[in-house]
Symmetry: C2
Subunit: 259 residues, 2 copies
């Protein structure tokens, strides 16, 4: 029986807790995964779990650590609270390696410039559901933060997620999502060239896409709105275009035959 870690000042706890900061995550290439669902999805996807903090009585978590060859660190709920990002974090909490950020351009993608953690996680979830990879712009939110991981609900480990994107290859067509003045969805999607790969570009919550990004895009699309407001949440707008792109791709087939 291992000693139960009871102090939030234990060096292992202090080192793990620092991963709440983006800078520390970048430097160490590690992140925190909270709760059985995220830990389990990561382990299944072959993400390296370094260590696993859990209540001493949490046999499921202990076995999960064994199976993943992670260091098992039994601890108190106070320690979990120190490590977690919610008021009452559910154990276990894992220290895990951030996966490599290179995602080949092998299928359609979402390119996201969002800064809200909830929107980033929601878009990752939609991308995974619709069979798309997702790439985040250099100034977008840190996708391996606890909030984005929570909103992603495990989808980070079910599709290609990359960060720090600067340019989209010329061979990949770009679909700018704009609030007004674009070609209407879904007709604009159904007119795309099926022999190309396509990337849906979603701007920031505050400013959308800038003029030059829209001018550089292959096509600009707008979701028709009948209502009193001409504005959708950025993650919702991106998800609706992703839904239409997936429907279209399913009907026309993929450029690589891989769809």
């Amino acid at each position: 029986m291992m000693d139960v870690v009871t102090s939030a000042r234990n060096p292992k706890v202090v080192a793990a807790a620092r991963l709440a900061q983006a800078k520390e995550r970048r430097t160490r290439g590690e992140m925190l995964l909270e709760g059985p669902h995220l830990v389990d999805e990561a382990a299944r996807a072959g993400i390296h779990l370094v260590s696993l903090f859990g209540l001493a009585t949490d046999d499921l978590a202990r076995r999960l650590a064994q199976d993943a060859r992670a260091a098992w660190i039994p601890c108190t709920s106070e320690v979990l609270t120190r490590l977690g990002s919610t008021d009452h974090p559910r154990g276990p909490i894992a220290v895990a390696a951030i996966p490599a950020v290179e995602v080949p351009w092998r299928r359609d993608s979402v390119v996201a410039h969002v800064s809200d953690p909830g929107n980033a996680g929601t878009l990752i979830r939609s991308a995974a559901a619709f069979g798309l990879d997702i790439r985040f712009g250099g100034r977008a939110v840190d996708v391996w933060s606890p909030k984005v991981l929570r909103a992603g609900a495990g989808a980070h480990f079910l599709t290609g997620v990359s960060t720090g994107l600067e340019v989209v290859p010329l061979s990949v067509g770009t679909i700018a999502t704009v609030v007004e003045g674009g070609e209407p969805v879904p007709d604009a999607i159904q007119a795309l060239d099926p022999t190309r790969l396509w990337a849906i570009v979603v701007g920031s919550e505050a400013h959308g896409l800038d003029r030059s990004a829209i001018a550089r895009s292959t096509v600009a699309v707008t979701i028709p709105m009948a209502g009193a407001t001409e504005s959708l949440n950025a993650a919702v707008a991106g998800s609706i275009v992703a839904y239409e792109l997936a429907r279209w791709r399913y009907s026309v087939g993929g450029p690589t035959g891989g769809h």
Copy 2:
């Protein structure tokens, strides 16, 4: 020139700050609106603004208070921080009357049982964009909380929003959104009876819709997903069905001719 309120213990500040609590909002029928956009949208919609806290130098806010016949309370940024729900709230912050909750069944609706404030606000925004009213179930989140108002981005005041919904009238058809096993969208939507009003029913994030709610619905629909995960964020799923319902309604016309 009025005296500038500098103390967070000023009775007016204390009374306003209490509106951060759901119980206090219910009892008094008042809410807090943060930032010029929300205050402005509410004023345009004819919402009664009781008082407006803003920096003494904020001439725009002072004029807004005058136009809305609200009591103008010049204050310090410390007072705004006490009243606001973010770390650095942008003034002005208004105490405003919560609008009456009766929304007639006059057009298609979203019926939401979500409990996450961000999802609730996002759904209100999507409903407004797609020309739908929105009704929240009795155990759903309090839609007049600062978080839901922020996520709604002003849409609370652009469409019918009601709370405490118990039953949908028999004359209104219900569309249950389910993760799997429903009829696929958009075909299921295009097959609806255009002479009826329709309500899209969105379950809670944790549990979706219960079996009896699905069994009672006129039709159950599922968003086809090609990806590795069979799950979308609840607000995204509801918004995609709302998008399809609005497209369909626009093409077939409304039961009341009012669409």
